[in-house]
């Protein structure tokens, strides 16, 4: 290997909220990649940068943690990466990022990592605040005490980066004597664990020995006691270090965060402000995103039209202009909402406000097995489940996160509205009740049903799902900070990119598949639709004839055949095969229901009003009365409220849970529930 090819593997470790991500972004810029650790849904951030002419640094951003005791999947990743000798991410050097405002707790993790035998660099972040906060740190003395480089940096302002790189390039050594000695009586046991698990040193063995249940013969209570012994020992040591090497002028900092919190976590004003913010977020993804979404829609259909004019008519050209291009449009159309929601969310996270959201909402949401953070995805879900489910990424607890992902699609998203509008207009009389419009009340009721279903399903499921990690609520309330534009932009970029490459390709694939099924059929009925229509309805001419042919084609396409096949199954819900076709084709997106109904009933326009007028005329062949009576209408409304009728949501759930298990369970559960509820409603009202 040539000199130019030298790689240095560096890991970034530190407490949550220390600016670790800012440092990662400052060092790697766009040269970073987000993936998942195999088998679990913990995000893995890697990146690289050039250190000097001879060396490239490969940087891993480890999940934020307070110690090397693992109580969650992310913390276990940190423990494994830093203790296992054969771990593929095992670093050569660890940079521990420490927040100077609570140095003691940050140094606690630093001393643990140093004791694992890594050459370390201690990066003291937010250095610009040291003086302002009335805190003076003797960096030189700390460096001598720990025998490691200690460097003041400001990750946001990119200060200290050169010093950090110089330190990385220098000859780094691990500590000579561990800062905490594994107690004599446990040393041989720890050594045994080290050998059994293939760990790098005895302290690593001790960490696994005291992990509780990780090693046979040690009860978790015993392990916990040993570990608390280590914790007390380290904090006593660090207390002396802090006393000797730092000077604090107390009471200087309490000001800003405390003042803001007096309002922001106030039992009344705090909630008013929170719900105002949530409403603004909802408004932004519901209404404001519509402008760019319409632009995208128009741009893509223009493109389709122009291309279909240019190419000779044929299967390939139609596949491209009617299948692939609208399919791509169906992916890109979500980007405005994703961008807006993640701008808002990274703003909330970066500023430190998200922890207050958790604090304010915990009491209510814990009853349903959800996290305080679930409130953001749930509210966003009333606009669209796609960005909302992506927004669950920051819920640390696995169970709370899965529950939120699972129930968010019950919230009434905007794609259900056109469906509801047609159905309500069809079967609910436009009377007013107590001065309130009945149709409006039913629509409000549909929103309520979605909300109750979400919370109810979460409550029920939380009883079934086992906890994978302790569900204790321990949340740090970080100081408020001005959000940093670079971090916000990188989050938005990364979320959009991962949506397009992961969920996007599944959405594209399935929508093309659905198009092929709707625009192709076996047999003569499909191919020679025009002949059949002219033969059976010779009076038709012009536009009416064309519409009738289109209807005939759809009826005999693969989707049409599928609609007939499922008819026996949906007949007890009051539906015929025509509704069956609409159900299947609206799997691409719920609002497609209206367009499909328009084609099936040969309505020239896919606007809601004309479709509604036509459906009103439809008679039940057996009874001669209107087909769309109250029972059918309510049954359909309830079906659309509960059923998982959205390929894009399933794709994004697959992306976020890292597998097909959860999207499949979710689809079976939601559609099963929809079936049962619609069945009961129809049979009762009939």
């Amino acid at each position: 290997m040539s000199d130019k090819g030298r790689y240095l593997r560096v890991a970034l470790a530190g407490n949550p909220n220390t600016g670790k991500s800012s440092l990662f972004n400052a060092l790697t810029g766009l040269n970073q990649k987000v993936s998942n650790y195999p088998g679990i849904t913990v995000e893995k951030k890697t990146g690289s940068f050039r250190l000097n002419d001879t060396t490239t640094v490969e940087l891993v951003d480890l999940p934020g943690t307070y110690s090397l005791h693992a109580s969650s999947p992310d913390e276990e990743i940190v423990l494994r990466t830093l203790t296992e000798r054969e771990n593929s991410d095992r670093p050569d050097v660890v940079i521990v990022v420490a927040d100077v405002t609570n140095l003691k707790r940050n140094l606690y993790l630093f001393t643990q990592i140093a004791d694992l035998g890594f050459p370390c660099i201690l990066a003291l972040n937010l250095s610009d605040q040291i003086d302002r906060k009335g805190l003076k740190i003797d960096v030189e003395a700390l460096q001598q005490r720990f025998e490691m480089p200690v460097i003041s940096i400001s990750a946001r302002k990119k200060r200290g980066m050169e010093l950090l790189k110089q330190a990385l390039a220098s000859d780094l050594k691990p500590v000579a004597t561990p800062l905490y000695a594994v107690p004599e009586e446990h040393r041989s046991a720890a050594e045994q664990v080290r050998q059994d698990l293939g760990l790098s040193n005895t302290y690593g063995g001790w960490l696994w020995l005291t992990q509780g249940n990780a090693v046979e013969g040690v009860s978790s209570g015993e392990a916990k006691q040993w570990r608390i012994g280590e914790t007390v020992n380290r904090y006593n040591y660090l207390e002396r270090v802090i006393q000797t090497h730092t000077q604090r002028i107390p009471e200087l900092d309490r000001s800003r965060t405390a003042k803001l919190d007096r309002v922001l976590v106030h039992p009344v004003w705090g909630l008013v402000i929170l719900f105002t913010l949530l409403f603004l977020i909802f408004q932004a993804i519901y209404a404001w995103a519509e402008v760019p979404m319409n632009l995208i829609d128009t741009a893509f259909s223009d493109l389709s039209e122009r291309l279909s004019d240019r190419f000779p008519d044929g299967f390939l050209s139609r596949l491209f202009t009617e299948g692939v291009i609208p399919g791509i449009a169906g992916v890109v159309i979500f980007l405005p909402q994703i961008i807006i929601l993640f701008a808002a969310i990274s703003f909330l996270e970066e500023s430190g406000y998200m922890s207050r959201v958790v604090f304010l909402m915990d009491n209510i949401l814990k009853r349903f097995g959800l996290s305080g953070k679930s409130v953001v995805p749930l509210i966003s879900g009333t606009a669209c489940a796609i960005p909302a489910i992506m927004a669950t990424r920051n819920i640390e607890n696995w169970k709370e996160r899965i529950l939120t992902i699972f129930v968010t699609p019950f919230m009434t998203c905007s794609a259900r509205l056109p469906v509801y509008a047609v159905l309500i207009g069809l079967v609910i009389p436009s009377h007013s009740v107590l001065g309130l419009e009945l149709q409006g009340l039913v629509l409000l009721g549909m929103y309520l049903i979605g909300f109750i279903a979400a919370l109810g399903a979460s409550w029920g499921l939380s009883k079934l799902l086992r906890d994978r990690q302790s569900s204790h609520f321990i949340v740090e309330m970080p100081s408020y900070r001005r959000p940093h534009l670079r971090n916000v932009l990188l989050t938005i970029y990364e979320k959009s990119r991962s949506f397009v490459v992961n969920a996007g390709k599944i959405i594209l694939l399935i929508s093309v598949l659905l198009w092929i099924m709707a625009s192709n059929g076996p047999g003569d009925q499909f191919r020679s639709a025009a002949t059949y229509v002219s033969a059976s309805q010779p009076e038709l001419q012009g536009e009416a004839l064309e519409l009738a042919i289109e209807t005939h084609r759809l009826e005999h396409s693969y989707i049409g055949i599928l609609g007939r096949i499922i008819e026996p199954a949906i007949r007890p819900l009051g539906y015929d095969w025509k509704i069956g076709i609409a159900l299947i084709s609206s799997f691409a997106a719920r609002e497609v229901f209206v367009g499909t109904m328009a084609t099936i009933y040969s309505v020239g326009s896919d606007e809601e009003q004309p479709v509604l007028e036509r459906l009103r005329l439809e008679k039940n062949p057996e009874t001669g009365k209107p087909f769309f009576n109250l029972a059918v209408g309510i049954s359909l409304l309830l079906f659309y409220a509960f059923a998982m009728q959205c390929v894009s949501t399933l794709s994004v759930v697959k992306q976020e849970t890292n597998g097909w298990k959860w999207p499949l369970v979710q689809m079976l559960f939601m559609t099963g529930l929809a079936y049962v509820v619609a069945l009961i409603a129809f049979q009762l009202l009939q």
Partner: protein, 93 residues
């Protein structure tokens, strides 16, 4: 300041008599932590430096008075009332 010895943590709680815990604090009040019921409290809280000898102050309470927002060992922390009731405080002078 030094933290009390490890042995102190092992003291079990006397169930009968009322103990003064972090859950009893009123907003604005502070006290020193005497001991923590280690079988009830996750290690994470210890790891975060919430240890006997540290000063703890209740800053705010969420709607319905739960969870509770404390200031302890130079930073702010929210925990539920139930967990706070396992943090035993020194009696007020």
């Amino acid at each position: 300041m030094n933290f009390p010895k490890f042995a102190l943590l092992k003291m079990s709680l006397n169930k009968g008599e009322h103990t003064w815990t972090a859950a009893d604090l009123k907003p604005g009040e502070s006290a020193r932590i005497l001991e923590i019921a280690e079988d009830r409290v996750p290690l994470k809280l210890f790891d975060m430096g919430c240890l006997p000898g540290a000063e703890i102050e209740l800053c705010f309470e969420a709607p319905f008075r739960d969870p509770m927002y404390f200031r302890v060992a130079d930073y702010r922390l929210a925990i539920r009332r139930e967990l706070a009731s396992h943090i035993i405080l020194e009696q007020r002078a």
